[in-house]
């Protein structure tokens, strides 16, 4: 075979591989919408999004997902409030303060945290954290919004920390030297020069961390409590969207109302993660 042809064949092969993941994403998205949209034959769009009765197996069933959306948003917010400062400050400490040798050990260890299977984290929340919340904080039930948020924070810290650390590490040394030379302290340099310079990377890290929190299933299934209510305070149980889907899809009859409703919930979840990822992308494009 002539070299040119061989070359072209290889290019083609690589292109097919590169586009196949795009193709699969497209097919999955198409399937998700194809199975989700029919729910609007049974329930109006307004009712679906703003009503608060999720009784999928009652007769007649009610499919109103407002409490599920609030549940997902609430656990993500709690997780972010804990994980973002923790992740970003750890990253800052590693790049700006810690000696290089320590950093070389610490970073892989933190990244290893991300490798903890979510079911293990969920188990920990259920067995260890829940009783503590009940005994120490006098929560009515330890399986609640705060517990889920805490466990999700645990899982998103590695993502946030690792990507932020890369961003901070990428800030040119000359910037730090200039700042120090102008008489700024190390803290001022870190807070006012280095972190702002790495802002787009840190923003991306936070968005990806949040996107992981909102999509995480096992942890919220195990520790969020599973009550489809709008939480009034941080120790109330919630039922985030992924938990509802995971708990119910197995019993929903194929292409029945409940099945379509769960796919529609999946659709909403997909739009949420898509939004987070788009924001992350936009932030990372905005290189100062």
């Amino acid at each position: 075979m002539p070299i040119a042809n061989k070359e072209r064949l290889i290019h083609l092969g690589l292109a097919v591989i590169a586009f196949s993941s795009l193709l699969f994403l497209g097919l999955i998205t198409f399937f998700l919408f194809m199975e989700g949209l029919p729910v609007f034959q049974y329930v109006s769009i307004k009712e679906f999004f703003t009503g608060s009765n999720w009784y999928p197996t009652s007769n007649p069933p009610e499919f109103q997902i407002f409490p599920l959306i609030v549940g997902s948003v609430a656990v993500t917010l709690v997780a972010s409030v804990i994980a973002i400062p923790l992740g970003v400050l750890t990253a800052a400490w590693m790049t700006e303060v810690a000696p290089a040798a320590l950093r070389r050990i610490l970073k892989p260890v933190i990244e290893l945290l991300a490798a903890l299977p979510s079911v293990v984290v969920g188990f920990f929340g259920m067995i260890v954290v829940a009783p503590v919340l009940q005994d120490v904080f006098d929560a009515d039930i330890g399986l609640n919004l705060f517990n889920a948020g805490l466990m999700l924070a645990f899982m998103s810290v590695p993502t946030i920390c690792s990507i932020s650390e890369d961003a901070l590490f990428g800030v040119p040394k000359s910037l730090r030297e200039a700042s120090l030379a102008l008489g700024a302290t190390r803290w001022e340099t870190t807070a006012k020069v280095v972190i702002p310079a790495a802002f787009s990377g840190i923003g991306t890290a936070c968005m990806l961390g949040m996107s992981r929190s909102i999509g995480e299933t096992m942890v919220v299934l195990m520790v969020a409590g599973g009550a489809g209510i709008i939480p009034e305070w941080i120790f109330d149980p919630v039922r985030p969207m992924p938990a509802a889907i995971a708990a119910e899809i197995a019993e929903a009859s194929f292409r029945g109302e409940h099945y379509h409703a769960l796919f529609a919930v999946g659709m909403v979840l997909f739009l949420f993660t898509l939004a987070f990822n788009c924001v992350a992308q936009a932030v990372s494009m905005k290189k100062a």
Binding site: S52, I127, A227, A250, E251
Partner: protein, 271 residues
């Protein structure tokens, strides 16, 4: 091109389970029946070297769905098959055949420190619908009742809904847990909680409550006085034959399978 890929993937999906099925009996379904079949299955495989069972849980509805889709030969279920499920199975050429293998009693449970001992079916309904919210109303301490239920898709929930709730809805404030084990875990760690579980999951970390003055137990469930009891089933495609018949006979044998039913904590049908 796409068609070829789709056909290829479809081919894998269709042939893979069928291939596995030719070597072993696939059993799928209710997590309530699962522990029984795991024990019985182990004994069956010991007694019949060369036979192979693959047993997995996933819920009654899932098992029946798998049976009608030909993905398993035996479905475990904690409830009878629904008309819609039978129709779906028959449309696929599968004829579900029901075999009762044990009796399960659902028992309301609380934390061992909870002083409440007696309750009525009506009170249970009021607790789960959110009308009764404080233990004081039941003769207990002044504390909020934390209501723990099974997921609305589980067979256990369906039984509970049918026998206890009637047409009333379970309050949205109830915590929906995905398994018997999760309910045990939540109730045994929480003094304010009430939950309900299969008889087989009772242990020392929980206290069972009497309903309408009756104590849950083997006799009361079998003679029909315990108000919250149900039969557990296996479903096969048509009357079981060959290896399947051997398995079913083993399960129903009072000296073999039924012994394990008792070990797990369910109530044997024959002894």
């Amino acid at each position: 091109m796409f068609k070829a890929i789709a056909a290829f993937l479809l081919g894998i999906m269709v042939t893979a389970p069928a291939y596995a099925a030719s070597q072993e009996i696939m059993i799928n379904g209710s997590t309530t029946v699962l522990p029984v079949m795991q024990k019985v299955g182990e004994a069956f495989m010991n007694a019949n070297p060369g036979s192979s069972l693959a047993i997995s849980g996933g819920g009654s509805g899932n098992g029946i769905k798998a049976l009608s889709e030909g993905l398993c030969q035996v479905a475990m279920s904690s409830r009878d098959i629904k008309d819609s499920e039978r129709a779906e199975a028959e449309a696929r050429g599968v004829n579900p055949y029901r075999i009762a293998i044990a009796m399960d009693a659902l028992v309301p449970v609380v934390h061992p420190d909870n002083p409440v001992k007696e309750i009525s079916v009506e009170q249970l309904r009021d607790i789960y619908s959110g009308k009764i919210t404080n233990w004081q109303e039941l003769g207990g301490e002044d504390a909020k009742i934390v209501v723990i239920s099974r997921d609305s898709s589980s067979g256990t929930f369906e039984t509970w809904e049918e026998i206890i709730m009637k047409k009333t809805k379970v309050s949205p404030t109830a915590l929906m847990q995905a398994s018997n084990g999760a309910v045990v875990q939540a109730v045994s760690k929480n003094k304010k909680a009430i939950g309900y579980i299969g008889f087989g999951y009772l242990n020392n970390s929980l206290k069972q409550i009497n309903v309408n003055g009756i104590v849950a137990g083997a006799e009361t469930a079998l003679d029909g006085t315990w108000p919250i009891a149900r039969e557990l089933y296996l479903f096969t495609n048509g009357e079981p034959q060959g290896e399947l018949k051997k398995l079913v006979d083993f399960v129903l044998d009072p000296k073999k399978g039924q012994k394990y039913v008792l070990d797990i904590g369910y109530i044997p049908l024959k002894d």
